[in-house]
C-alpha cells in the first residue's frame, strides 16, 4: 500500500481518482488546491503525487516546483492537465522525471502507471527518492512509464 496525494480542484475527478486508487489498495489523501496539497505533503511525505495544473491558490506546476528535491514525494509525480499546451508542460517537467498526462485520461492507465512506479521501485530495492531527482527519472523509465 502506498500513500498517494491527489491535488485536484474538480470534485468529480478528485473523487474518481480517489475511488480507483482506494480500490487498488492505496491510501489516498485528497487536496482541493495546491496550497492544501503542499501543506499536507510537508506534514507527511507521500509515495506518489498526482496533481492537476490549473488550481486556485497554488497551481500544480508551482506545487511540483515546491516539493522538488525535498524528499517529500518518494516514488514520483504525475501531472494531469487539460491545457492545450500540455506538450510544452511535459517537456518542461521531463528533466524532473514528472509524468504529464493530458485530460481526458483513462483512470485504468493512471492506476497502472502508479502501480508501475511503486512496484518498480520496490523491485529495484532502492530507497525512496524525492520527486524530480535524476534517480527518479531513471526509476520512471525503468518502470515503463508511457
Amino acid at each position: 500500500m502506498s500513500r498517494i496525494l491527489v491535488a485536484e480542484d474538480d470534485p468529480h475527478i478528485l473523487r474518481l481518482i480517489s475511488m480507483w486508487l482506494t480500490r487498488h489498495g492505496h491510501e489516498v489523501i485528497e487536496a482541493r488546491n495546491g496550497l492544501v496539497a503542499r501543506e499536507l505533503i510537508s506534514t507527511q511525505p507521500v509515495d506518489v503525487l498526482v496533481s492537476d495544473v490549473n488550481m486556485p491558490g497554488m497551481d500544480g506546476l508551482n506545487l511540483v516546483e515546491t516539493v522538488y528535491g525535498t524528499g517529500q514525494v518518494r516514488h514520483g509525480v504525475i501531472v494531469l492537465t487539460n491545457r492545450w499546451d500540455h506538450g510544452e508542460i511535459g517537456e518542461r517537467l521531463a528533466d524532473w522525471g514528472v509524468q504529464v498526462i493530458a485530460k481526458p485520461f483513462s483512470p485504468s492507465r493512471l492506476s497502472e502507471l502508479i502501480e508501475s512506479m511503486t512496484a518498480g521501485t520496490r523491485r529495484a530495492g532502492r530507497p525512496a527518492h524525492s520527486a524530480g531527482t535524476p534517480d527518479q527519472q531513471s526509476t520512471s523509465q525503468e518502470a515503463g512509464a508511457p
Partner: protein, 615 residues
C-alpha cells in the same frame, strides 16, 4: 492620355518621287526647260536674222558690184588704149567707195589684158577662190567700145558688205539676252531652293513626327517675304513644345500637386476625403502629394504636416520603407505591412498597404492605412476564448470518459458506485450541453441571428428559481445567498429561457467569484418604468482597468484570482446581449477586493407599468 500628335490633322504621306521633285528637282527642271526654250528661241532668231541679212547683203553687194562693173566697163571702153595704170587709177578710185577686191579684163580672144591689183596677174584663179571662206561676190560684165564693138569681159571681185559687224552686233544682243535669261534663272533657282528646301524639310519632319519617329518638329528658317510665315511656324512649334512639356510634367507628377489641384472641389475628392481609412498618394520622388483626413488622424499629424514630406519619413518603419521601395521598383502586387506602436497602457496596430500608381509611367505609389487594433484585439480574444473553451470542454469530457470507463470495470459494479457514476455522467453531460449552448448563443449573437421567444414571464418566480439553483454551490462554499423581493412584481413580456440564462449567469458569477464565507444578495425592485434586479457580492471585485471589458465576449481578466475560477468569458457578454435584446441593460459597480454589484434593468411596457400603478 491623348497623344500630342493627335493635335494635328492627318497628313497624307508624300510619295518618294513627288517628295523628291518637291525637294527642288522639279522647279530646277522646269526652270532649265524654260531657259532652254528661251535659248533655242534666241538661237533660231539669230539664224533667221542672219540668213535674211545675208540674203539682203548679197543682193546689195550684187547691185553694187553690177553698178561698179558697169561703170568700170564703160570707163575702160571709152578709152582708146587703156593700160594698167588707167585701170589701177579707176579701181583705186572706186575702191574708196566700194569694197572692190580685184578686177580682171579678159580680151575677146581669152587673153588677159589688164589686172588689178597687178600682183594678181600671176594668179590663175580669182581672189574669191583663193580666199575661200570670205564672203566675196564675183561678177563678169562685157566691155564694149563707144561704137559698140565687144572688147572682152571684165571680171570683178567685190567684197560683201560689213556683215561681220552685223553679226557681232547680233551675237552681242542675242548672247546678252541669253546670258541675262540664264542669270535670271539662276537667281530664281537660288531663291526657289532657298524657300522650298526648308519647306520640304518641314514636311518630312511633320511626317516623322506624326509617325512617332521624331519627338520634335523642325524650326523653319526663311527670310525675305516668307519670314513672317517662318516666325509663325516657329512660334507654333515652340508653343507645342511647351504644351507637351507641361503634359509630360503633369504625367510625371500624376498624383502630384497638378493632379491634386485637379482633384480640388471634385466629387471624387470629396468622396476620398471622407473614406473611413487613410489614403496617401506620393509622387515619383516618394513625397506625399495627397493624404486624406483619415490618414492624418491615424498618423496623428495634420494633413499639412504630411503633404510634401517623404512617405518613408512620415511612416517610420523599415518594412514600410522597403515595401515603398518595392512598389517604386515596379512590384505590382500590393504589399501589406502591420506597424504596432505601444504607449504606457495602449497598443495600436496600423496596417499599411502599399501599391504602385495604376499608371506606371507616372511613378508614385498609393498607401492605404487601416487601424486594425480592434481586429488584433478580436483575434487575441478569440485565441483566449479557444484556450478557455478547450479547457472548459475538456473538464466535463474528462469526467464523462473517466466515469464511463469506471462503469465498465469489474471492481466498480456495486450499486452505490454505479449510481454515483451515473449521476456524474448526467451532470457533466448537462454541463457540457450548457457550454455548447453558450457557445452557440454567442455565435448567434455575433452574427446577429439571435431571436427572442417572447412570452409572459413571471420575473419573481424566475429569480427565485435561479437563486434556488445556485444555493447548492453557495452552500458548498459557505456563501450566504439571499433574495430580497417586493410583494408583487408584474409579469413582463420576454424570453423566459434567455432571461433565466441571464440571471443564472449573474448569480452564478457572484457565487463563483466570492470567496468562502462571503455574501451574495439578490434584490428585485419595481418602479413605474422598469424592473431592477441587483446582484451584490462580497467577492474578489473587478479592477478598474478590467471593468470596461467584462461585458466583452471571451474577455477574462488576467488576474490570478479570476483565472483560478473556471469560465469561458461568455457569461456576462451573453447576459448583456440578452438584456439589450429586451430593451434593457446591465450596469456594473465594483471595487477590487471588496465586491461587485451587477444591476439588470428591464423596461416595463405601458400595460405592465399600469399594473404597477394599480397596486
Amino acid at each position: 492620355m491623348a497623344e500630342p500628335q493627335s493635335n494635328f490633322a492627318p497628313i497624307k504621306p508624300a510619295r518618294p518621287w513627288r517628295q523628291h521633285l518637291w525637294d527642288g528637282v522639279l522647279p530646277e527642271a522646269l526652270g532649265l526647260c524654260f531657259v532652254a526654250i528661251i535659248l533655242a528661241a534666241l538661237a533660231a532668231g539669230y539664224l533667221v536674222a542672219d540668213h535674211f541679212w545675208q540674203k539682203q547683203s548679197q543682193a546689195t553687194t550684187r547691185t553694187h558690184a553690177e553698178n561698179l562693173a558697169q561703170a568700170l566697163a564703160t570707163a575702160l571702153g571709152a578709152r582708146e588704149e587703156p593700160d594698167e595704170q588707167t585701170l589701177a587709177a579707176l579701181a583705186q578710185g572706186l575702191s574708196r567707195c566700194f569694197q572692190l577686191r580685184s578686177v580682171r579684163w579678159t580680151a575677146a580672144d581669152g587673153t588677159l589684158r589688164l589686172v588689178w591689183p597687178p600682183q594678181l596677174r600671176a594668179a590663175a584663179t580669182p581672189p574669191a577662190e583663193a580666199q575661200a571662206g570670205q564672203r566675196l561676190v564675183t561678177l563678169t560684165v562685157p566691155v564694149r567700145s563707144p561704137t559698140g564693138q565687144p572688147m572682152g569681159d571684165l571680171l570683178i571681185v567685190h567684197e560683201a558688205d560689213d556683215r561681220h559687224g552685223y553679226r557681232t552686233f547680233l551675237l552681242l544682243n542675242w548672247g546678252g539676252a541669253a546670258g541675262l535669261t540664264l542669270l535670271a534663272f539662276a537667281a530664281f533657282h537660288q531663291r526657289l531652293r532657298r524657300h522650298l528646301r526648308p519647306v520640304a524639310a518641314i514636311e518630312r519632319s511633320l511626317h516623322s513626327y506624326v509617325a512617332g519617329v521624331e519627338k520634335e518638329l523642325l524650326s523653319l528658317q526663311l527670310s525675305d517675304s516668307l519670314g513672317s510665315i517662318a516666325r509663325g511656324w516657329n512660334t507654333l512649334i515652340e508653343q507645342l513644345a511647351a504644351t507637351q512639356q507641361q503634359l509630360r510634367n503633369a504625367q510625371q507628377a500624376q498624383a502630384g500637386p497638378y493632379v491634386a489641384a485637379r482633384l480640388e472641389n471634385t466629387l471624387f475628392r470629396r468622396v476620398v476625403d471622407r473614406l473611413p481609412f487613410g489614403l496617401i498618394c506620393t509622387g515619383p520622388d516618394q513625397r506625399i502629394t495627397y493624404a486624406n483626413p483619415s490618414a492624418a488622424a491615424l498618423l496623428a499629424r495634420p494633413v499639412d504636416g504630411l503633404v510634401g514630406r517623404p512617405a518613408g519619413e512620415v511612416i517610420d518603419n523599415p518594412a514600410v520603407s522597403q515595401a515603398i521601395a518595392g512598389a517604386e521598383a515596379g512590384c505590382r502586387a500590393g504589399l501589406s505591412v502591420d506597424h504596432t506602436t505601444k504607449d504606457k497602457d495602449h497598443e495600436s496596430t496600423l496596417r499599411f498597404r502599399i501599391m504602385p500608381m495604376p499608371e506606371p509611367a507616372s511613378g508614385g505609389i498609393i498607401i492605404t492605412v487601416e487601424d486594425i487594433s480592434q481586429l488584433r484585439e478580436g483575434q487575441r480574444a478569440r485565441d483566449n476564448f479557444l484556450y478557455h473553451v478547450t479547457h472548459e470542454l475538456r473538464t466535463p469530457l474528462t469526467n464523462i470518459a473517466a466515469y464511463a470507463e469506471t462503469l465498465t470495470q469489474p471492481g466498480f459494479d456495486d450499486e452505490q458506485t454505479r449510481k454515483e457514476c451515473y449521476n456524474v455522467l448526467i451532470s457533466e453531460t448537462r454541463r457540457l450541453s450548457r457550454l455548447v449552448e453558450d457557445i452557440l448563443s454567442i455565435s448567434q449573437l455575433e452574427v446577429g441571428t439571435a431571436r427572442l421567444d417572447i412570452g409572459q414571464v413571471d420575473l419573481l418566480r424566475l429569480v427565485r428559481q435561479m437563486v434556488q439553483d445556485n444555493l447548492g454551490a453557495a452552500d458548498e462554499k459557505g456563501i450566504d445567498l439571499t433574495l430580497s423581493v417586493p410583494p408583487k412584481v408584474p409579469k413582463i413580456n420576454g424570453d423566459k429561457q434567455r432571461l433565466s440564462v441571464l440571471l443564472n449567469n449573474l448569480i452564478g458569477n457572484a457565487v463563483k467569484y466570492t470567496p468562502s464565507g462571503g455574501k451574495v444578495q439578490v434584490s428585485l425592485e419595481v418602479d413605474q418604468r422598469q424592473v431592477r434586479i441587483a446582484v451584490k457580492d462580497t467577492g474578489i471585485g473587478i479592477a478598474p482597468e478590467d471593468a470596461p471589458h467584462v461585458f466583452e465576449k471571451f474577455y477574462r481578466a488576467a488576474d490570478q484570482a479570476v483565472q483560478a475560477v473556471p469560465g469561458t468569458g461568455l457569461g456576462l457578454a451573453l447576459a448583456r446581449e440578452v438584456a439589450r435584446l429586451h430593451g434593457g441593460d446591465i450596469f456594473l459597480e465594483s471595487e477590487k477586493g471588496k465586491g461587485s454589484v451587477f444591476t439588470l434593468e428591464l423596461p416595463l411596457s405601458p400595460t405592465e407599468a399600469a399594473e404597477v400603478t394599480a397596486r
